[in-house]
């Protein structure tokens, strides 16, 4: 039906299209030349629609970042007025209501902050730049950050890692990722219990483990907890918006690492963050 050369040419046209380098050869009255022109037209159209999708996506991201920026002032004002009210209402029974406003504002602030981080990360405004660093640096920073919350709940964080191993990670973002995981451990641990941080070094990855003895995660939830805005049913009373683990996974993924979780309901949970030990 087709000559060998025609087929070869068609094959090459497809290869070039996949590589994004397709150009029409000479124009002539042949059928093949007509096919080439149509092919070019089709490719141009699909590039256009892809670009449109891309533009649309960027617009949404910009919007999120605008919202987070524009809400800062009103949020600060709410806090300020609440404070003023509190001074005027000294001794009143309605102070409890102010507490509630405070709590909700905190929550809203946290949500907006998380959304901003998420949109920045997703739109690649900020880049995750892994560098070769000591693992202990990361652990120290995370433990330091969590201490106030730990003391408040009478928990104990034990860091068992004493090695001097290194891994490729971005300090700022990985601190955020691991911090979110430790934060969860604190949130879901009963007062007085322990949280154990340890490291296992494999040939290619270093696994940072965060183990708690809290409520644990139901088996069917373990794959879902990394989804955006997912919250397990039995922890709805706890504060939180369901972004922390999603962010953690996105960050670690950008460093060519991954996160694994082991848990059974009622028996605590262990999160393992795998960081790359050599550069790709």
């Amino acid at each position: 039906m087709f000559g060998r050369r025609t087929l070869d040419r068609l094959d090459r046209m497809l290869d070039e299209a996949i590589a994004g380098t397709f150009e029409e050869s000479d124009y002539d009255e042949s059928k093949l030349s007509k096919v080439e022109s149509k092919w070019k037209h089709f490719l141009a159209a699909s590039v256009l629609s892809r670009e449109n999708v891309e533009k649309e996506k960027n617009r949404v991201k910009e919007l999120v970042s605008d919202i987070s920026h524009q809400t800062k002032t009103p949020m600060a004002n709410i806090r300020l007025y609440t404070e003023l009210l509190r001074e005027r209402m000294e001794g009143s029974e309605d102070l409890g209501l102010l507490e509630e406003i405070d709590r909700q504002v905190e929550k809203l602030g946290f949500l907006i902050q998380s959304l901003t981080k998420m949109s920045r990360l997703e739109s690649n405004i900020v880049e995750v730049k892994p560098k070769r660093l000591h693992i202990s640096e990361l652990l120290d920073a995370v433990v330091q950050d969590i201490l106030p919350k730990v003391q408040k709940k009478d928990l104990k964080v034990v860091n068992t890692y004493t090695g001097s191993g290194t891994a490729y990670y971005d300090m700022k973002w990985t601190k955020e990722a691991l911090g979110n995981i430790v934060d969860n451990a604190v949130k879901y641990s009963p007062a007085g219990s322990r949280i154990i941080i340890s490291v296992r070094e494999y040939e290619l990855y270093a696994a940072v483990s965060v183990k708690d003895f809290g409520v644990g995660i139901r088996e069917e939830d373990t794959a879902k907890i990394f989804r955006r805005f997912y919250r397990a049913e039995d922890v709805h009373d706890e504060d939180g918006v369901g972004i922390g683990l999603y962010l953690a996974r996105e960050i670690v993924r950008r460093e060519n690492g991954y996160i694994k979780v082991k848990s059974r309901q009622g028996c605590g949970a262990e999160f393992m963050v795998y960081l790359q030990r050599r550069r790709i």
Binding site: D15, I18, Y202, E203, L204, Y205, A207, E220, T222, A223, R253, N256, G257, Y258, K260, V261, K262, Y274, R278, I280
Partner: protein, 227 residues
């Protein structure tokens, strides 16, 4: 977009009293780009299922759709080519060709299909799997973990619609397993590759985005998307 769908898949061996129902009505859907683990004990039917999905064996009844194509309607020759183009396999035994070096093994399926190697892509895969320094080594000169990484690279190089992995770390010690699985997960995500992994090991399955449990030839959990 669904890349794989099975409809009431059944595989019976023997007849009468001796009949064994290896698969007994499996309905399964897998989205493009998903990393799915199929977990079951030995004898649960998980390997039979994998053989059906990969077109290695034909079911007693039921349908398998890959990329919207009913693969059971294909003749044997066509099925063979389908496997080469659409399915990447990673088995417990690495199945590398002993007289070819790592790079030759990786690009073999592409060249078998008479295609030119997409050098940029293959290089990237090799890079991510950390095989750059090993390309000229023969399989016998590589460790188990390295051989399995070559097998993964080979499976990815032809950009299959689905990568099927059957106990990919069955022959590896637990430390090496962790590394190989980690790479499988990271490369899968990086290249948007759909992966279906069969294992009896719960811990290994935890790496997947979705876990499907199979018992006595039936899916006991996770078959349908719940979103």
């Amino acid at each position: 977009m669904k890349v794989l769908r099975t409809v009431d898949l059944k595989k019976y061996y023997g007849s009468g009293e001796n009949q064994v129902k290896a698969l007994d009505g499996v309905n399964l859907e897998v989205e493009r780009g998903e990393f799915t683990a199929i977990v079951g004990t030995s004898g649960s039917g998980k390997s039979t299922l994998l053989h059906m999905l990969g077109g290695l064996d034909r079911p007693t009844s039921g349908q398998v759709y890959v990329d919207d194509k009913n693969i059971l309607k294909l003749k044997n020759d066509a099925l063979c080519i389908f496997r080469r183009r659409k399915i990447g396999f990673v088995f417990q035994s690495y199945n590398l060709v002993p007289v070819l070096n790592a790079y030759e093994n990786i690009v073999l399926p592409i060249e078998l299909d008479g295609n030119t190697v997409d050098k940029g892509y293959v290089d990237k895969v090799i890079d991510v799997l950390g095989l750059k320094g090993k390309l000229l080594s023969l399989p016998s000169q590589l460790s188990g973990g390295q051989q399995q990484r070559v097998a993964i690279a080979r499976a990815l190089a032809s950009k299959p619609a689905i990568l099927l992995a059957d106990e990919p770390t069955g022959n590896l010690d637990s430390r090496t397993s962790q590394d190989v699985l980690g790479l499988l997960k990271v490369t899968g995500e990086k290249f948007g590759q759909t992966i279906i992994m069969i294992t009896h090991n719960e811990e290994i399955a935890q790496l997947a985005d979705r876990i499907i449990r199979i018992e006595d030839g039936r899916i006991s959990e996770g078959g349908e998307e719940d979103e």
